[in-house]
Structures are given as C-alpha cells and as structure tokens.
C-alpha cells in the first residue's frame, strides 16, 4: 500500500519525512512521474509538497536587500516573471528553456536541484551565482553551497528526512547571460549550456557550464582572466584576444562525454562558442535585458 501525504506546511512535510525517511518528495512531479511512468522508479510512499504555501514565493534579505531567497516551490514560470527576472536575469532565461508552458507551470526550482541532473537547466546559473541551498528536517535547518549539494550525476546531499526549502542567490549589479544548446529550438534537454554573471562592484565575472561534466562546473581560469582584463567601468567589449582566450579557458573547464544527445567534441566546441558570445553580450556597453 502506498501512502501519499499531502503536506500543507513545511512542518507537516518534515514530520511526514521524519516518520518515513524513505518517502519520495514530490513537488511538480515533472521529473519523478517520467521515471515512474517509464518504470525506472518504483513508487513508494510520497510526500506531496505542492500545496505548501511557505515553499512558494520569494523575498529579499540582508542589510542591503541584496540576497534573494527563493522558495523551493518557485516554479519555472514564476522565475520567468518580470519582477523576478530583473533580479536574476540568467535564472529567468534558464527557466524559460525548460520544457513547455505546462511543464514550466509545474516544474520547481527545488525539483531541478533535487534531480541534480547534469543537464538541469537552472544549475549552471545557480553555480555561477554561488547559490546556497537551505535544507530542513525535523532536526533543524542547514545551508549548503551549491557545489556541496549537487555532488554527482543525479546525486544530491539530501539526507533521509530532509527537504529543500529555499535557495539563496545574490542580487548582482551587472549583466547576466544564460545560453543553452539543444538540437531542437524549444523543449529540449541541454546538449551544453553556459551561465555567465557579472558583478560590477566586485569586478568579477563568474561562468558555469551545464551538461559537460557530472555536476555544474565553474571555469575558474576563465573567470580570473575576465577579472583582470574586462572593463567593469565602461563595460566595453573586450579585445578579440581576450575573448578568444576566455573561450579557450572556458572550454578547458568542460569534461564532456559522447552520448546520444551529442558528441564530446561538439560539446567542447559549443562551449567555446557560447563563452565567446556570452562575454561579448555581457560587455557590450548595453545593460542586460531579461528574457
């Protein structure tokens, strides 16, 4: 017999998970139900969290209101709303590439994290933003940086009984870009993706890649180059040799494989193209525009 607990508060959900730590947490179900229908995941007990109001919505925190706290139940459609898109444009751009409108209405940010797929569309953005994941259980709350949360191909750091409640990202002053390559113009799993965010006051560029390694990877050497050579005051386009070097260093961070969605050679090549385009767009002297 399968039990489905429909939680209406975080405490409810935590209590249900406490008594049955093996239960599956289901929010939008857009990943889970695919596995169930395909027969690759047996349905055990389920804790449904899609009716927990505390998991929806977002707020600004910190002394200068420069930290955005996103409820784990924030949907991809929510993320693409203009009010949120202007705070984290790359996250909105990434959310817009997820599935169809129906899927975006159901799929949540927390679910994308929990699935921890190498192709998870929001993950490169969260990696570039140094996002922090808030986890709750009946034992209390803990926070993990993204790279300690997503630890392998579809492996996350959740312990039994634990629930993702929120994601914190900084609200940065500077352009953001998310670019995703797929072999279809919509509703496609990323063959490779790239997120680039600029922190003008901090004079840094952070770039992260999706679908080219088991987990989202940062291109640290490319970031160092960009911090040294980019014009954070005038935001002018970097010289060609800087762009080319940035593209090479970014591609070097990729560790792609061959699979049925694309070859490793193509992925590496595509990363360099995306890197070139992203840095030129970000430093084009024009303010970044949301998706």
């Amino acid at each position: 017999m399968v039990t489905v607990t429909i939680a209406t508060s975080i405490d409810d959900a935590c209590a249900a998970l406490d008594s049955d730590p093996g239960a599956l947490v289901m929010a939008g179900g857009t990943d889970l139900m695919v596995e169930v229908n395909r027969g690759t995941r047996l349905v055990g007990n389920v804790v449904a969290v899609d009716r927990v109001p505390e998991l929806r919505g977002w707020s600004l925190e910190g002394d200068r209101s420069d930290v955005l706290r996103l409820g784990a139940g924030t949907t991809c459609a929510d993320l693409a709303e203009p009010s949120l898109a202007k705070l984290v444009p790359a996250l909105a751009q990434a959310a817009r590439t997820v599935g169809s409108p129906q899927i975006r209405n159901a799929a949540t940010l927390g679910g994308n994290l929990a699935t921890a797929s190498p192709a998870g569309d929001t993950l490169p953005v969260l990696a570039a933003l140094d996002a922090e994941v808030e986890l709750r259980s009946s034992a209390g709350t803990r926070r993990l940086p993204l790279d300690e949360f997503v630890v392998g191909v579809k492996v996350n750091a959740l312990v039994p009984g634990e629930l993702i409640t929120a994601i914190r990202v900084p609200v940065l002053n500077g352009p953001q870009e998310f670019l995703k390559v797929g072999t279809r113009n919509a509703m496609v799993i990323a063959v490779t993706s790239l997120a680039l965010v600029v922190d003008r006051p901090g004079r840094t560029v952070r770039v992260a890649l999706g679908s080219v390694a088991p987990v989202p990877v940062r291109a640290i050497e490319a970031e160092v180059l960009a911090a040294e050579r980019c014009d954070f005051d005038g935001m002018s386009v970097p010289p060609d040799e800087v762009v080319e070097r940035f593209a090479i260093l970014t591609a070097d961070a990729a560790r792609p494989i061959d699979d049925h969605r694309g070859s490793a050679a193509y992925r590496r090549h595509a990363v360099s193209v995306l890197a070139r385009r992203a840095i030129r767009r970000a430093f084009s002297g024009v303010p970044s525009v949301a998706a």
């Binding site: 169809s100 995703k180 390559v181 279809r184 113009n185 919509a186 990323a190 063959v191």
Partner: protein
Amino acid sequence: MTTLEAVSRTAAGPRIGESAPRPDGVPKVTGSFAFSSDLHNDRMLWGGTLRSPHAAARIRGIDVGPALALAGVHAVLTHEDVPGSPTYGLIHRDQPVLASDVVRYEGEPVVVVAADHPDMVRRALAVIEVDWEPTEPLVDPELAADATPIHPDGNVIRRVHLRHGDQTVADRQDLVSVEGTYEVGMQDQAFLGPESGLAVPDGDGGVDLYVATQWLHEDRDQVAACLGLPDDKVRLTLAGVGGAFGAREDLSLHVHLCLLALRTGRPVKMSYGREESFHGHVHRHPARMHYRHLATTEGDLVRVEARLLLDGGAYASSSSAVISNATCFAVGPYRVPSVEVEGVVVRTDNPPCGAMRGFGAVQTCFAHEAQMDRLAVALGMDPVDLRLRNALEPGDRLPTGQVITGTLPVAEVLRACAGHPSAAVGPDDPMARPGGAGRTADIDDVVRGEAVAVGFKNLMFSEGFDDSSSARCVLHRGVATITCACAEVGQGFVTLVHQIVGEVLGVDEVVLAPVATTSIGSAGSTSASRQTWMSGGAVQMACESVRRELLARVAAANDVSVHDLVLVDGRIFSLPGGGSGDDYLSIDLSLDEVTAEPVEADVVHRHAPTLPLDADGQGDAHVSFSVSAHRAIVDVDPDLGLVKVVELTTAQDVGRVLHPLQVLGQLEGGAAQGLGLAVMEEVQVTDGRIRNASFTDYLIPTALDMPPVEIAALIEQPEPGAPFGAKGIGEPPAISSTAAVAGALRDATGLDLPRVPVRPDDICLASGSALDEAD
C-alpha cells in the same frame, strides 16, 4: 449538372469542396474522444509483453513457472501456446508471434502475460527466466547480403534491378557527370497514441478484438491464421486511432491479446508505453544510396544510375513493396531516357522497418534532389530551370516504361512554388533564430539559405495487387447509413463521407456504421494515399446506385421518365417539360417520403488493374501519381550547427480539392514530418539497440521549429478515374519537404550535407568547410 443548378440549393449540409466540420473534431480537442487506450471492460485483465533485451540471441530455455506462481497472474504464454501459424507478416509471414529458439532484434516479443493489474503484469514479467545466449548481431546492411543468413528466408528480402533505355550511353564521354553518396537515418512515425487494444472472448471459441489499426481485414486474416481459427471466429472492430503514418499496418499486440483472452476466458487489455511503442512497431527504412547523373551540357538528363540499399531490419514487413517504390521513383519526376537502378532491401538484426508516409520515395527524393542541385552547379544552370527542363509530363515514360496517362503537373508545381513571393522576415526576433529559446545566436551569427525540391510517388497499391474497397449505402426515411471498413486514422474520411453523401444524394443526415470486419468486406489499407480514391470512390458508387434506384422508383410510381427527374438537397423534383404535363415541378417529394421502404446498394470499388514489374523492372505497375514541390528558407548558425527553418512554401498536385481545411492539414503535417527528418528525427541505433526510445530524446518539431506553410498553389487537374477527380494527398508533403530543407541548408552553409537528419556536428565540425573556424 446544369439541371441541378436550375434548382436553387437550400440544404445546409456539407458538400464536396467545402470545409465541412469534422464529426470527431470537437471530441478530439476536448478530450472526450475514446482512443484505443481508453478501452475498458469491467471484467478485463491486463496484458504485457516480455521482450528481448538482445539484438541477437539464442533462447536456451524459458521458465515461466515463477510468473505463473504469482497471485493475480492468469496466463503466461510462449511460442508453444500459439495454436496456428507461428509467424505472421504483411507480405511475407516471416515474423514469429512469440520467439521460439532465436531473437533477431532488441524488443522482439518472447512471452506474454495476463494479470489482474498492470503492476502484477510488471512483476510477472520480471520473474520470468529466459536462458539467453547472446550472439553477434548483424547490424551493417552493407554486409547482410553475404553474411550467414539470420533467418531461414535469407538476408536479401528483395532485389529489384531496373533497366530502361539504351544502356550504352553510360560510356559516353561528352556528358556532364555528377556523383554522390547519400544516407537517410531511421525515422519513426511518432504517432501520439501508442499501440493498445482489447480482446473479448465470445465463450464459443471465438474472439472480438477492438484495436487501433490501418487495415482491419488484413489484420483479421493474419490473426485468424495465427490463432488457427476460421475467419468468422475472429472479429475486429476499429478502436479510436491516435495517428498511424504507416506504423499500424503491421500487427503488434493483436495476436497476443487474442491468445491471452482465449486462454483466460476473460477480456484482456494491453497498452504499450512510449518506450515499448518504439520497439513495438516498424520504422522508416534507413537508406544508403549512390547516384550518378549524366546530362548534356545544355542540361538534358541522359542517364541516371543508382544503387539503393535499404535496411529492412529483422523481419520483412512491407519491405519488398518499399524497395519497389524506392526503385521506381529513384530518379524523381524527370524525363530520363536511360536508367539503371539496383534496389536492395536486406535483413539485419536492427529494428524492423516497414511502411511510413512516403514509402520509399522519401529516401530517394532526398538523394535525387541533392543530385539535381549538384548537376545545376556543374552545368552553371539555375536549379529550378534544370528541373523544369527535365520535368515529366503526361505522355512521357517513367523509368519503368509506363506511360503517364493521367495528370502530372510537375512543371506547374515547380513554377508555382519557386515563383511564390516569400513572406519570410529577417532573424530579428531572438526566439525565432537558430537555437530558439536557448538564446544562442546573435543576429550576426546567422546565415540564410534557400532551395526548391520536387518529388512524386504512386497513389494506391501497385504491381498487380488486387486493390479494392467495399461500401454500402442504405437510405431509409431520409437518413443515409454508410458502412465501410475504411480505418479513420486522422485523415478525415469520416468528414468526407458526409460530403460525398451530401453531394450525390443531397442527404444531410448521415450515419456512419461502426467499422468492423463483420459489417462489410475489406476497404483495404488506410495508406498509400488511397482511401479518398478507393473508399471515397466506393461510397460515391454506392450513393449513385441508391440515387438511380430512387429515381427509378419515383419515375415508375409517377409514370414519368427518370430523365425528367432530379434529386437535389434531399428532394426529388420533376423538370419542366417532362412527364405527362407542362407544369413546372409537378413532382416534389422529400426523400423521407420516398424512402419509407429503404433503398440499399452494396458495391466493391476497384481501381484500374496494374501489372507486376518484369526482370528489368519494366511494366505498368502503378495506377496514378502525385507530385509536390517545396521551397525551404532556412537560417543557420554555422558556428553551432543549429538551424531554424524560416519558411516552407509548397505547391501540390491534388486533382481536386474536396475539403480545403483538410488539404491544408495534410500539407502542413506532412511538411512538419519532412522537416523533422531533415533536421532532428532519428531513431538512433547502435549495435542493434535503440538509444533514444522516448519523446525526450526522439525529437519531433515544436512550434518553434516548424514555420508557417505557405501554399503557393493547389494544382487542380481532375484525375481520370478518381472520384470527383481528386488524388490522394497525404504522402507527397512528406516527400519533397525533407529534400528542400536539406538543399537550403547546403545553400546556407556551402557544405555537401549528404545525410539526413543533418546534425549540428555535420555543420559546425565538418572538415574542410569554408565556414570552419579555428577554436
């Protein structure tokens, strides 16, 4: 017809040439239409299939004991439980109902189970023990002909060698020659409603099967043979069909369901999931094709040579007809005095291939149109002018020697399509650029290309097949009941029937009887663009017969000549000057009154007979032909190899438009399927295993991939012998669209692109490409 026009039309019902509403349209879009997956019986069990995980293996033993021991499991059947013919097939019965000693493709059915619940079925399948001895699969079609036979019937399913005209011109040195090798990947029909059905035992040794199919009577014959039952003990009724495109011409779960129902004495339902569906039906044949075209320096085609190799996969299905088509139409709709084509379809351990929209002509169109573009470059000619110069016309001979006696407006569709103004705008909208929602391309990253392609194929069955459809019309109290076994698979026959009855009898109240093998004889297959002609023609004949009898009845009762009577809009009138007096419209009777006693007609409609091909591939093998042209405009991001088809323009030879909206639907849908093959649709098979058996990874075009289809022209030249002059229209849109998109990609990139679907790597990692960038 002038006499009909003399009486003004009053009825509101649909007529030929109007976009009548579809009877199944609203139910389908609102979700109330019952598809075969919605079948239900309160007493039913669920069925499931154990399939081979290997592309090739010997079966040393099967232990069904653990499954049978599970509570809730009612039957576990193997090949030993098939009472009749152990094999089935459309043309050659070479495919086992359930594998016995060997399996020849991944997904081949081995055991079937019936249980109380789908989860119990899954558990039962999981505990069946099969002792497999995997063997080396034969997966390269190039090696198949000379390899050890993997089936008692051998590895060459059919070889067609066509020779036409003077073969010595092959050695002429004064001709311009272009050569190329082309490849087409394995496309799936990708219908939305996976295979499903319900078998109900009748308690008397017989069975009723409700199933989604394209051809009820052929299914019935094959199922009855496998069950070892006479035909009348196996009764098929059409269940709601969620698309077909050729994938429902072969049996899938039909025999399995009946075996389980007869064994358990309970109704049994089976529904494939999406992954199982990819393993459960045939696909479009992958092709390797080598061509050589020879032409005069003025651009007259002199000779075309082609070698075609199709991979038929493990079982024959309709492969022998597909290779015949590929061979007959290998050179395209062009006048070519000297032709040699060798077409071969072989057996391998890859997934079985069979019928799909376009049926062999899709693959060769991609190749012959690439060759025509190459030839135009070699000659320094405009590619459309080259095509026009060589365009087939009525009176010309095909490479099979057959003279085209009907209509074939090749030049007309080409001119209309090529000359149509383009509505395409620049790639200003980021979402409309290559890469779409992924925001990958800036405006300067995009290059545009354009190409025109033309293709044709036969309508209806060929090579001497006795092709027919049966229909019955009963007119009683003004209501027409039409019985015909034509499978409605989405093409709109249910709409057309209303139009035909309205047109011929002026009757607007039309009942379409359930489509079943018990109600009437075969309608033939809903394939080969044939049902409007064959079953539409049968319905038309039946209605005309009823009309004649009605008029005779009224004439006799009123002592007037039938020639003085007209039937229009559901009433029978006498014409002025006729009958016994001069009075205008002295007879005015409603059909309601006249048909208090029903009037009935039963007809069998056949098209003109065809002949087999001889040893040189010569003969009047085909009935009729249809041609279409497409112009594609594409945007390409060469650095990433991503593509956006910006516009598709088409012109098609339709004979006559019977239903404008349904014509548009076929032209748009076919073009989308053709675009899919050009840029994304491929069943990826490695070592005989399908790597992308899901709609997550088998990609079909979305609204961001499929552009608006511009109709440049519908060429209406009534086809002799066709009902209302209308040709079948379903297949041509899927033939020339792929070739046009591929041509436009070549135009944009300067690359050869000899294979579809064109993958991003083929564009941006092509060696020696002018657009290759160092990185």
